[in-house]
């Protein structure tokens, strides 16, 4: 095997790769969230934002391809670590409990595989709802562009989709609560001093991201914007 393959297949390399791809996806999510907030500034703002992204041409495709690779690789690593775990303890404990204290076992860390798989399925439906949608056209400043504003308003007027989206964003918050802290630990950026600080920052970040994504659909559904 080549050096890179050996590294990526080692237990440490797999964690480092999970952390790096995780950070990349978090960065994307933050940019995505900031983009969503343009809805609050009105139809012209969000439609122009979307139009500007599409004008990037090849650069946009490079980012999309990179994102797809990160996403698939991150999911594959998570699933393979989970499968490995089942092999590593063929005989289960009759009784198992967390000691608490320094333990980071929680509703967030213990459900990473579940929240991860649900997020994976969500992304597929989400791309179908928005990215692959045949948008109506809107004209702003004499330029014809996709009417993203109208599509958002239409989708989040539906109670079922709104509930589905809100639930998934709560799961995203749960995934990030352990994921962000864990990525720092996986990349070795951790000392006994920084550990509690980063653990707290991860919680705040997860909360802000989940609340940010939940804010838009609820605002549309309850006609606050």
């Amino acid at each position: 095997m080549s050096k890179a393959a050996t590294f990526l297949n080692s237990q440490v390399g797999r964690k480092i790769a999970t952390g790096v791809t995780g950070f990349g996806l978090v960065l994307f999510i933050i940019v995505h969230l900031l983009g969503n907030l343009a809805y609050f500034a009105g139809a012209e703002a969000i439609n122009t934002y979307s139009h500007t992204l599409h004008q990037l041409g090849p650069l946009l495709w490079i980012v999309r391809l990179g994102l797809l690779l990160f996403f698939v690789y991150h999911a594959w690593l998570g699933i393979s670590i989970w499968l490995e775990r089942r092999k590593a303890r063929p005989d289960k404990y009759e009784m198992y409990a967390s000691r608490g204290g320094a333990s980071r076992q929680s509703w967030s860390s213990s459900s990473m595989i579940l929240t991860g798989i649900l997020l994976l399925l969500f992304v597929i439906t989400h791309l179908n709802t928005f990215a692959f949608h045949d948008f109506e056209k809107a004209i702003h400043g004499g330029v014809e562009m996709h009417d993203v504003h109208a599509r958002l308003s239409e989708v989040f007027a539906q109670p079922i989709y709104t509930i589905y989206y809100v639930v998934i964003m709560v799961l995203l918050g749960m995934h990030l609560r352990h994921g962000v802290w864990s990525a720092f630990q996986s990349l070795g950026w951790m000392s006994s001093k920084t550990n509690p600080i980063i653990y707290s920052i991860a919680f705040v970040l997860a909360l802000i991201i989940a609340a940010g994504f939940i804010g838009l659909p609820l605002s549309i559904y309850f006609e606050l914007v």
């Binding site: 440490v12 964690k15 480092i16 000392s191």
Partner: protein, 253 residues
Amino acid sequence: MSDQTMTIHLKIWRQKDKNSPGKLVDYTVDDANPDMSFLELLDWLNERLMNEGREPVEFDHDCREGICGSCNLVLNGMAHGPMQGTAVCQLHMRKYKDGDTIVVEPWRARAFPHIKDLVVDRSALDRIMAAGGYISVNTGAPADANAIPINKYDADLAFDYAACIGCGACVAACPNSSASLFTGAKIAQLAHLPQGHPERKKRVVSMVDKMADEGFGDCSNYAECEAVCPAEISITSIAEMRREYFKALSEIE
């Protein structure tokens, strides 16, 4: 010694050998003393069993003062029982209430093959150590003490990591059965000492490889290992192992 006695109900994993099925068997000790250690409670039970001509419960033990790493029991689902920073030999019955039920199981992991009852084979940990958890020194007269200056910060950290007694509780408690805390502690200890530097790259690569070869699982940063470690080793040792591995890229084949 306390004059009081207490009744303790035990559900102990009994298994004749690796190939036989095991199960939890109920025992009741109705005259346990609060000053007994948990292992002494098992001794007490075993004396009764032997007097009755029954097979005693096999369990690992040696120093019984919390430093050898031999004892390895999972009590009510927690490696070494409920006390923080305590090996199960140092757990005393006064921590329990009269009438309590305690489920007693062996370490469970593919890398720790079962031997009998509560005894498992932990030699996989020795083999990780043999893969690089040492420093090579020339034979001859011992080196002068204090000949190599080491700053206080690194000396203290190395000492904290060196506290590992190799019991394997980290593996037993880990939902993934990972040996990262055990391996990380040794790598981090030697990484902080000048004596460890000549072999540091080779060490981390071969010890990390060995960990996977022996069948231990991946780490998912649950930190349950730190919570159960009788030597209270921090998961920062695992972060250090990852840094060391990254720095050792040139040594990877």
